[in-house]
Symmetry: D2
Subunit: 324 residues, 4 copies
């Protein structure tokens, strides 16, 4: 039985995290959640086994330094410690990183890819929701060296992805019965996480991401439709085998069989990422063009669920506890 402190539990992500933990606790799973304030939290860091930080970007840096000093395990759900390179942080987030010394101590908590490093880690940066869908959707191809240089990602996200806020564009009347592309043609921050993960999977590589997020009139869920091409000679079956092998035994990866396409419904209210693979043109069933669709629940696999998965891994207990 572990004890957890959560900072920022009033946002959508924090609320979801509390609910997941609550379920765990009741089932004798390893959590507790005294809903401590950050200040209290630092004072009481010794009483808990882990602190989950569900704070806005840039607001996590000083708390992380404080908690880290106490030795408590930290899972940070903000973007503040996701990018290993402080210059990249400054470039993408527009402010200098005030704790660059801590960056090397953080592990990027994309469980299916970094499982080995997460085991035993004390400082974990929980990945962003968009990059989790894209990185899990493309990881096998990048690892095999089959991923085309240019990757087009057309992503659609439910409104909770924007956090619990009151901007007019997120009001019911504006978002309902609408679909809004946004940040199109802007170097979206989440591209940095795609580059950081995929560029390094197989030696050093530089993929070029065209990334268009769209605001979707649903509460939760991300669906990324990804357009890629593979080298000549790589057949659909070879790709399917690659994904099956790469993700063999993964409890939260749901590979769809040929002919089925991933939808939001496949992963809503779960910690799963569903992935489908389809030749882009049936006249060319063995490529070179493919459409990868990856979906997940942005509040669970894209945030709180993966945070719990990270904690489970870091302390060496069953990775799926509280998540099935």
């Amino acid at each position: 039985m572990y004890k957890a402190g959560i900072a920022g539990a009033t946002g959508y992500t924090g609320f979801e995290l509390v609910q997941l933990i609550q379920r765990s606790e009741v089932h004798a799973a390893p959590w507790d959640y005294p809903l401590i304030s950050l200040q209290e939290g630092m004072a009481r860091a010794g009483e808990v086994d882990v602190v989950f930080l569900c704070l806005p970007h840039a607001a996590s840096i000083e708390p992380v330094r404080a908690f880290q000093a106490t030795g408590v395990r930290v899972v940070d759900l903000s973007a503040d410690f996701r990018l290993a390179d402080p210059a990249a942080y400054q470039r993408w987030y527009g402010v200098a990183h005030t704790a660059p010394d801590l960056l090397p101590q953080f592990v990027y908590g994309l469980c299916e890819i970094n499982r080995a490093q997460i085991k035993g880690a004390r400082l974990i940066a929980n990945p962003g929701c968009y990059p989790t869908s894209v990185n899990l959707g493309l990881y096998p191809l990048a690892k095999a060296g089959w991923l085309s240089d240019q990757v087009i990602v057309d992503s659609k996200s439910g409104v909770s992805g924007a956090g619990r806020q009151t901007k007019l564009q997120y009001s019911f009347v504006e978002a309902n019965e609408n679909l809004t592309p946004y940040n199109v043609g802007v170097r979206h921050r989440h591209i940095a996480e795609m580059e950081q993960v995929l560029n390094r999977v197989n030696g050093q590589h530089t993929y070029r991401f065209i990334f268009s997020p769209h605001l979707l009139p649903v509460n939760r869920g991300i669906l990324s439709t990804i357009y890629i091409s593979v080298p000549q000679g790589v057949t659909e079956q070879m790709i399917r085998d690659l994904y099956a092998e790469t993700y063999a035994g993964e409890p939260f990866i749901h590979l769809l069989p040929a002919g089925q396409i991933a939808s939001l419904r496949h992963t809503a209210y779960t910690n799963r990422c569903a992935i489908s693979i389809t030749p882009a043109d049936p006249a060319q069933p063995d490529g070179p063009d493919y459409i990868i669709v990856a979906t997940l629940d942005n509040l669970i696999k894209g945030a709180s669920g993966q945070a719990i998965q990270n904690f489970n891994l870091s302390v060496g207990i069953d990775e799926t506890l509280g998540l099935l």
Copy 2:
């Protein structure tokens, strides 16, 4: 004052058409709508100036032959007379066309592109909703010879696009809080209309369309996010100038200024098509990659509104009557 007969007025498209006509009538616009059955309609074809056919695909062919024989003007909203080549019809729709002799008499009613032919036409094939968004979104580029060979179209459509039907996938609980890609990797029928229009705009060309439609949890609206590239030396400003010039004076084309992206809200309940142009990568503001977003209301500009626009054009009255 004109009189119109409508066959198939109980579907979403027919209902919308009746409403648009009703509005026109009241404002002394040129319509009437005795909701005649098809059979009655043929008997009374002499009393009306135009027949609008809102019938399912394949169900229009014989009625068209019957009405055509009476000399009445016909606007067919089905797909039956959209493809000039009967072999293409058979390939995409899986049945032989039983009136290939009539195909050459039909004009493809994409008003902004075929206006000259529509004037005076007696047989008009009203375009499909997906192709209208894509063809209007790409027409200037194709005409200028600037369109890349490969075009990736990620389209999202409201549920009324499927017609008024009761399949489980279109039930509220299945479609709500969901997003479903469908026919991905299938040679969707609507690609034929894109090819027919764009391949011929500037000499003969063969574009390669990758087309992924998604079922969106809204009642109405289509948004196509289109990924293309242009030849070296073609700048964003040149593209903007091209679109502005091509669509100068068009009452139903809404070109968005730089920095704004088209959303469903721009065109809901209107006969407009909104188009935005954005460099795909701000690090490369002059290309070669661009994202064109085109939106329209699938029941109006994608069906009934364009049908009225076609009629207005064909009889030589103000193209916008009943549509503003």
Copy 3:
């Protein structure tokens, strides 16, 4: 051809009003809309035939005084001049009315009930959306003296009823997939408009309204389910005859036949109010308990459409111009 000034055109109501007018203008209907600011507006009051005020409650009083002094016709869509009694205004809105001298000059613009007074009126207070549904739903019964003392009104309103604002409760994630009763057990302001209209229809009466509004996850529309009883001997047929007679010739009242119940869909995007009458208990088909359901589009018949209807009436042109 009339000219109109609109103050407050950026809210949902003002935007809808501009669209309705735009449609009218284009069809040679009697409107123009130089989107003047309030200040400009006062300076240019002489150029227009009418000023529509789409301002928040309490913000209309001073503008109304200013415009009234110029002699221009005013249709005020706020609540500021709806209540004839300044003491009632203070009681329900919590502030003293600063222009009580103007109140007697205003006509309460519920067209179907006050048509005679609206004709020729220069100052018109446009009714609230909830009271319009309830007053039109109950007017025939009150006029006949058949309405029970106690009236239970269970109303449901789309989110645009709250105006264009950014409170958290109106954000997409909070309102979507939810239904929220609010102001239950509070003397909702709109009760005052029900009392003002219905208490005076037939001599003097004091009805007791229990009113529960609910926030509904749709953009627009109000549905009021009203529970009443009638005196012994009053049969369903007598009630139906009463409604048919009372509303005979009304262009915007849609009485549903026995067995059909009004829904939001009956009136969405129209200026109509749909009304259904049903015995509450089929075991007692002639009462005494009935359920009246009244629906309307809160932005049209509940605001902008009725404002235009009021203007049309006031200047003596066809009441339905721009509204069909």
Copy 4:
């Protein structure tokens, strides 16, 4: 560790039940779910501890007889064994009951009211979703003898309440952006369950229910707004105390404090029923009129969750297992 068979697992209720059980199983809770067909199920009844029947109304009777003969425990989620009186079944469902001999052996599984009888029961009729909300909302008042003879229930239900079916009225385009009262003025079947429970709670009584269900554009959730009055001298505080005492220690009853009203959000995706109590008229804070709002998730507390709660109770394990 118990084993369960589920018949009818492809509907919304059955699917939800499988998900709840799955969660239980993984957390070492007492369930298994070989998704057996009904026929298989009867053959293998000896292998399981309980059979959950998620079949349409009228389709449960013969399976129940078959399973009952094997001695296996049965929780029937249909309406077939909810009404103790076969004549009532015939009156409300229009067909003769073909197993009236079994009716006396069934316990009506409304856990908070019939807990004593459920313990050890082998045949349990799981209550309907509407009656569960109304009966839990009114039980304390009826027990205290404070409930008025006439009860007005204005209920709103998400579309999954209609089951997984394809009727046009439940299609996305028809239900979305709409609100539809239905069966108004019809003696809705669910009234029978309200009468059966509440009429007997305190001696014999005959309440008169006016019940108006509305189809709400959300996937799941029921909200019942209930209008009642209490005897003179009964104050709000007395009512609050009554509810608090009646439901003391109930794990799934969420009583809201004064000033808060129950909404769908309070109970979505939980096995809880939320109840709020509000004076209908603040000018009369101690009555006699009150508005009780009761909400629940129709697929969980209104169906599958309560089915599990019933099973837990019947075998004597912790009532909340698998439900928190």
